[in-house]
Symmetry: C2
Subunit: 342 residues, 2 copies
């Protein structure tokens, strides 16, 4: 059961790996999508590939305002505030989403400008260690998860206040946009999202970096002997270090907590490894059990021999705005479930 189409054009601000791939997917799906790229040469490259792209942000935003587009902010965190200011000026009535990997800082910028009722945050959990338009490609989000925030609705309900009808339509379109790329749309409030990705996205980057350095310290023989497990484990350390910094440093509180847990586990293993006889049994058993749980949850999707792709995530099929729907989102969030709109 596929969700129906997005009800409005999509305007992408920023056409790097994520924004560029999203533009390609939307156009391929037959949706109207256009965008802005800061770099003139990048914009030209996209135009030469047949995409509707400009390097003139005010012009692109005025057009978005005219056709009531959904604006997706796909720039690095440090540029988000400035882009929101431009949106406030040139596209004051458009709905806004984004693809930034940490959500609280974006939400702080949104709140600062009183844009809560026109914002639905997003974070597609996909990527490579490459960046820029040239790294973008169709199908990047296929079967990835796409976290979608709903803090405005959650808070309105807490306060006993009505939820703006425009926000409900915006939320619906953001879920449809994620679905259009083949991703699974997962509801997640800002704080919960940031705590989760600290563990499954940002911490892996820190571990990969530390492992890269420690392996490198082993000298040329160690590097020469490095096989698949080392390469896989350090792959994300190849990402532009400024992007890694941006992700990790904007999520420092949640990441710090997760990192502390990981250090403690490693320190305990170090203690028992230094005993006579050496042992790492506790970590080996606990880690293997945790990994198998992960496989049980997601393995079927990846390794199934069946040509039909079946998600292992529980699904919520719902109609945004119907009675009890915000509670349904909370329930789905707590089980890591996905949303399908009918």
């Amino acid at each position: 059961m596929l969700s129906s189409r997005i009800s409005r054009p999509v305007c992408l601000v920023g056409l790097g790996l994520i924004g560029g791939s999203l533009l390609r997917d939307l156009v391929a799906a037959g949706d109207t999508a256009y965008g802005y790229n800061r770099s003139t040469s990048g914009a030209r490259k996209a135009v030469s590939e047949g995409y509707d792209v400009s390097d003139d942000l005010p012009r692109v935003l005025r057009r978005a305002e005219e056709d009531n587009a959904l604006i997706v902010v796909a720039v690095p965190m440090f540029a988000v505030g400035a882009v929101l200011d431009q949106i406030a000026e040139y596209a004051p009535s458009c709905g806004i989403s984004d693809v930034v990997s940490v959500k609280w800082e974006v939400y702080a910028e949104i709140r600062k400008r009183g844009m809560e009722a026109r914002y639905v945050g997003g974070h597609p959990m996909a990527g490579t260690s490459e960046s820029g338009w040239n790294a973008s490609r169709k199908g990047l989000f296929e079967r990835a998860t796409w976290a979608i925030t709903y803090d405005y609705a959650d808070q309105q309900q807490e306060k006993g206040q009505p939820i703006d009808a425009g926000w409900i339509e915006l939320f619906t379109d953001v879920v449809r946009m994620a679905s259009a790329t083949g991703a699974e749309a997962i509801p997640a409030r800002v704080v919960n999202h940031d705590h989760a990705v600290a563990r499954v996205s940002h911490l892996p980057h820190l571990m990969a970096l530390a492992l890269s350095v420690t392996g490198d310290n082993g000298g040329i023989l160690a590097q020469s002997l490095a096989a698949g497990s080392f390469k896989d484990a350090t792959r994300v350390a190849g990402t532009n270090p400024e992007l890694i910094q941006a992700m990790c440093e904007t999520n420092s509180v949640a990441l710090s907590e997760a990192l502390e847990e990981a250090i403690e586990l490693l320190a305990e293993a170090h203690d028992t490894l230094s005993q006579d006889p050496p042992s790492i049994r506790e970590l080996a058993v606990a880690g293997n059990r945790a990994r198998r749980r992960l496989e049980a949850r997601t393995g079927a999707r990846r390794e199934s021999v069946s040509p039909v792709k079946i998600s292992s995530r529980p699904v919520l099929r719902f109609h945004p705005g119907s009675p009890g729907w915000v509670n349904q989102l909370r329930q789905t969030e707590s089980t890591g479930g996905r949303m399908e709109i009918f």
Copy 2:
């Protein structure tokens, strides 16, 4: 320039993932190879696939003695001593190699039995998180590295003693065997090997285990959001925990040292991440640089668009036993280079 064929049959003791894959490769290359599997059903399975396999170890070893086979010990570390005792009894003049991932403990067992002059250790750096004959497959070692020890020759030279001609032939055949599987043969003395793999193989297992537990502690939403980077980073935590323990615990001294370095890097990152403003710049820059060095060294082999597979490792083409050859091995080892015999 391919090395020529192994001069004798190969007898595999143990037909799990590594031993089984080696048997398949050697038979496919047209070499004579046969083996022993402890499990009767496993042996039957191999026989039903057309392989020359028995579950009777004394019989297999007597045959090896008769046709002067190269015996490759491919059992877990805890079983190595018992297998060597059987070899001493039933195949007292055969050359011996092995595929165990830590070399000093095997070498201790070899020394205990005075077998140094008939032993050349090996460690193919390949594997999956699966184990057993059913997990074995042809081509597992293609383009992997295969560490090959030469401590006996190194020590004889140190002592100004001659190197046994039989040992030189054995070393030659072990290099040829590795080459026959498509692997790159890398000379590495026992201690250097163990220090290197502590960093690039055993430490990644500990990191993967700790990361799996920390991710799992994030609950269902975190698991649901876990994407490629987390799955790649934790893949090896899916290995049988007893195998991980065996590897890590037998290499506890070198691993402990590497683990301490990694913990220190992470603890420093934790400190700077908790400052205001938070920063992980030092680790991000150092880790990225280290990872890029690794890519520069091995990337070309993996990602080349050329159909011709070119190794990025320096090559030593040599004739074992020729003047200065042990020094050539030391030199090659220090640059992580590979060997080709002519």
